[in-house]
Symmetry: D2
Subunit: 402 residues, 4 copies
């Protein structure tokens, strides 16, 4: 057992920290400025492309992807890097081409895509030339139970025809988002875990309509393409757009969600560190009732509690990454659920205290805290609400004693 | 001791509940629709004026104001009515002319205004013809400690000249907002609680500039005029615009805040009831993993906990109203602080669980829950953060033993 | 609506508070001393009898019992008196002949007993001459579900014959405990709520064996007769010892438990007040790191939170009492559950903070806090665990929407 | 970074787990039986000596002590072994000669003792022939602030003379406890951290009187010698009984407390694992309202939450051990505080839920849960209350920003 990072990780951490200082943090106000000035509320802005170019030049690129297509890092090596990007979650992940949902989509294509699919979609994604969307969640059903998914994907000759409604399709309104991975039912009569399939749907396919952007506590998240409600009305794609095999959708989703969850958790920890830093800075600089907030016992209690929680979470996330590397995603199933349960809730708590320390400023657009809070809160729901994961984890624990 | 409402309260509750059913709830989607279509993001919309006309016709008007200028209700009689309006907080309070910050401003004018001030500003406010703003909070200081307030109000001949910066001035961007009550320092050398004064500043006074709308999480609250950052740059008003006496600002603020806090708490309880209703409706209608959410033990636990908390909060709010009626606002000081501490936090918790029950819909614009949540969260900060009130309440408790 | 106590309540409160000051609090150290010196670890001690005599002389007696047999107080009048006795829960309730489980047993006999049963057992109980026990809970089943109760009560000629095992039978080892009310199944084939009956079993009936005293976090509660495990082995009593009718046991239990639960809650609030007082006294007198604990922000936070919670709880308990008086125990069912859910948990929290403020002293025998804590903790389990009550309350709430 | 145990740890874990199964768990009922039958309520019982002999024979001995005097394990190697002993905390630690307070006392003697002191006291302690006590905490002052300690140790010729009062001196009433390490003030005029010294006081030294056993909730902890209140009245010991140098007491205490805290945390995690196991066993075997408790959503939620918390805690404890090994106790200061803050509170929570799952049995002597709970609760106070550690940790965090 050894808690020190290996040499490659240390080196990449140093390079990334340097890039954060020299490029990412200085770009934050520029980003806000450019967002305010753009015409289309869903487009990205120039500073992002500049950061991508610089990051790629420095070799800070595609860290998330193990194996031949990516940078070859293990999950354990990637985890502390992803954490660092979480400190500036609107800029750093995308700058390094490590932003959701593209990461998950690239994994799917790398693992399950045909050569043609990889050439057409994975290549430009890996190069950061296009963006992508993942269309699973539906408004009318409890999507955490994949068996509920109602969108139909029907084989018709050499095509698949898609009908249904999806929402919270992140990034879908970004004009750079060229490709959608859509999950739906190809065989409602198959056994529950073999009913779903995934198909690739290029952006301009007729019949696919973005109806509106969904909000998250008032935020539209327009800077990364929002969260779309999308209607599929007789959307027709060639049969070769199927990913993997018919009935394989549930399996692909499972394979995609494990890494997706841990990436979210890694970044959340970086967000928590940013929140603690802001909380401490505010506490030492703001005076009320004759002394700095930093001298108030209750504020100290929050800071201590925040530190103690973050240290624990980070270790569990790192151990989970190590398990994924050593025994595989399946072997790390319990730990992936554990971090999915623990991290968003704890980070939400820390952000709440950082907000409270900032007074009205905390809920405003002048500090990143409220927006980070909304992101953390959303992650108590996204990829399955906490309660579903807790129930599943408990049943596995109980099974030993039945 | 008697826990039944008196006859007048019962009668007004019935009338108000009927109005909610017949007019307020049906107006909610119309309101959303009209908001989406307006040009100015800070104006009110026609349906609100229609509701005001109807409410006034029915005698459901100015309930909040005791004494000759208002409806003559006691705080205890008003409390359950205010709760009901909290079920639709964007429409019902304003429809009854019982919306913040006008209510507090009308109280100030009724209690401390000169006859001229009352004629010019109180009358049209009571008639719902104009709106108003209350400019106290400042971005650069911990405003919960009134001694920190930095805006200067200086006597210069027959005028007062105001310089400073305020933010989170609610309603200020609504074009109907015609008058600002501004708090600032007239005498920085007086003893701490006699340094501040309040003056009336009409909307178009030169030198007063609305710089931008502040957000609450992602919400601009544009439907009721937003939360403005306002700069005062040599703003000059006649000396007769002083409210009360020079140095009386702190006292007026205290007199204003007591009722303001209890009104917020009353409405919060209505918001909590709405949340419980939505949570139950969702739980009974949404099926996951083979059964309605309503049959999940954890969801039941939330519902029970929500019910148990609301029942306690309501009683404490009602008792506080009764104390204000019987021993005065000062005599009810501890209880006012207690409900200010307890209510926003508990209602925030309830809203969080209602959101969780709704899945992604809970954080979206399709249900009122996320927006209500932001309002409840804000009230853990507004009018002094919880921690300030707790500290003050504890010191009073401890004083008995020192 | 009126939050003032009526004249009779005010008068009795004054008398009781005077008695607490003059007799109860001074008796506390005497009680501890006498307990340490007695030979039988389950007996009461002389000071208790002296207090009973004095209380009865002052008319502070049998407050708990409404109607002809008791003092004629309503539940709403009794509630604030019971709260006061909770401040010294080992002495005051028994001094006023208002101690569990006798109170519930007297209610049962008053409501359901025959004239002969009342003469033989209710009379001496009302006179404080004997004590009694209530034998319902069983070790081998989840007793919160009365259908699980396994003890058999079989009719055999003119007798009932009892076989089974009970535990946590409070007071049973006190030699003054002369009579047991035993619940068991008379007809396992009847519909679920008509299977149980209750019979009176005098202490020395052959076949009834006290096996041992059960502990509550290390406490034996020997001062009021402990919590016995009792075995019934062919225990035979005359048929006229049946209380009410055969199959009526469940109904009697329900009738008994409502008042029992509210009495516990009333006293718990008095315990919480005692804890707050002790916490404040300690905080003002103990110095650490250069200032009194009372100046530590976290301690102030606890005190404020404790005060805010107690005020809410008390009001809900009082309203519940009022409902029992005005619409009956059935009509107050939801509120009785609500206080049962809310009170022990909140008071446990307050006691925990009072303990923490006392350092090691808090867990010791030198302060009453740890023992009070154990009593509050036990009440999250006794008369049905919180979770059972929450589930039931939630289902009633949800029923409106199904 | 590597989360696998090294080979030696794995091997010792296997040996220890085998010993737990073959000897410790079977000895638990024997232990309870023998405790009930002994005459002196403070003595140990024969089964403990048998277990010690067997453990030593198997080489499972003195794991806690690094370096030449002990088994040579690192903290990181010892941690998972200590965790396992925490599953049976009354038997396993003492069986392996790894029980507090002897462990800390042996560390003190190993690090600071003279050769003579080591020969006389360390040797028999390492051999498990005697036990020892550590007398620091005082009833009259906040002992978490060492500067408050009031006991005087005065040099008088060739002797030191001790006067003062200590309490919660664990193990002191065990007749095998032969030696006390006593902390007191030798120089009240020195700078704060140089006022205290430590001296060795053999059990029968005249003037040292055990006044009584202090309780922890209702427990006397008699099986390991209780928690004594001890009065020192002109207790005279030879000057060579000084440990280290005059004025070095604070430093020794600090050196002693770091390992002491982590050992407690390691064992607490084992206690938590035992609690989860018991909770699961109960949940799967007990039926209420028609289904096993294990099928209740709320119980599942507890189990998941417990598992998620334990996994995080364990990792932080292990990392802390690793830091102590690699950068020293001082370098691990923040982490030691972090686990001291996090572990007792979390394990207390888990034990509470395990208790609740057991109904009345949970608070009884029939399951170990209530007693384990009391131990965990005590550790939120012992070695400094959580609040002191949080404040200290927060100040260090804030220092970076001042």
């Amino acid at each position: 057992m050894d808690f020190a990072f290996d040499a490659r990780t240390e080196q990449l951490r140093e390079q990334l920290l340097a890039f954060m200082e020299s490029h990412i943090y200085p770009a934050e106000p520029v980003f806000t400025e450019q967002l305010a000035q753009r015409d289309d509320p869903w487009t990205s802005v120039p500073v992002v492309e500049e950061l991508k170019a610089e990051a790629r030049k420095r070799g800070l690129w595609n860290f998330f992807l193990p194996g031949e297509h990516g940078s070859g890092l293990t999950n354990l090596q990637y985890a502390p890097l992803a954490e660092i990007t979480g400190r500036s979650p609107h800029l750093a992940p995308v700058a390094l081409n490590c932003a959701a949902p593209d990461t998950g989509n690239m994994e799917v294509l790398a693992m399950f895509g045909t050569e043609q699919q990889r050439k057409e979609w994975l290549r430009p994604l890996l190069d950061g030339e296009i963006r992508s969307a993942f269309a699973m969640t539906e408004p009318d059903v409890a999507s955490s139970d994949a068996r509920n998914i109602a969108t139909r994907i029907e084989r018709d000759g050499d095509s698949y025809v898609i009908n249904g409604r999806k929402w919270y399709i992140s990034g879908a309104m970004n004009p750079d988002c060229r490709i959608f991975i859509v999950m739906g039912k190809t065989d409602p009569d198959a056994e529950p875990h073999r009913q779903q399939s995934m198909v690739l749907v290029p952006r301009d396919t007729p019949g696919m309509t973005v109806r509106r952007g969904m909000h998250v506590f008032g935020y539209t998240d327009g800077d990364h393409g929002g969260h779309a409600e999308v209607v599929f009305d007789d959307v027709r794609v060639p049969a070769e757009n199927l990913i993997g095999e018919e009935g394989g959708g549930f399996g692909i989703a499972q394979a995609r969600l494990g890494p997706g969850r841990i990436h979210h958790c890694m970044r959340l920890i970086g967000m928590a560190e940013r929140a603690i830093e802001l909380m401490c800075r505010r506490a030492t600089s703001r005076v009320a009732f004759g002394k700095p907030l930093a001298d108030q016992g209750v504020v100290q209690d929050w800071i201590a509690e925040a530190r103690v929680r973050v240290e624990q979470l980070r270790l569990l996330v790192l151990k989970t990454a190590w398990l994924m590397d050593t025994v595989g995603n399946r072997g790390a199933h319990t730990e992936i659920q554990a971090i999915k349960i623990a991290t968003p809730a704890a980070v939400e708590w820390i952000l709440d205290k950082a907000i409270q320390t900032h007074g009205a400023g905390g809920v405003s657009q002048d500090f990143p805290l409220a927006e980070l809070w909304a992101a953390a809160r959303m992650l108590r729901l996204a990829d399955g609400p906490d309660e579903v994961h807790k129930q599943s984890l408990a049943r596995r624990e109980l099974k030993r004693y039945r």
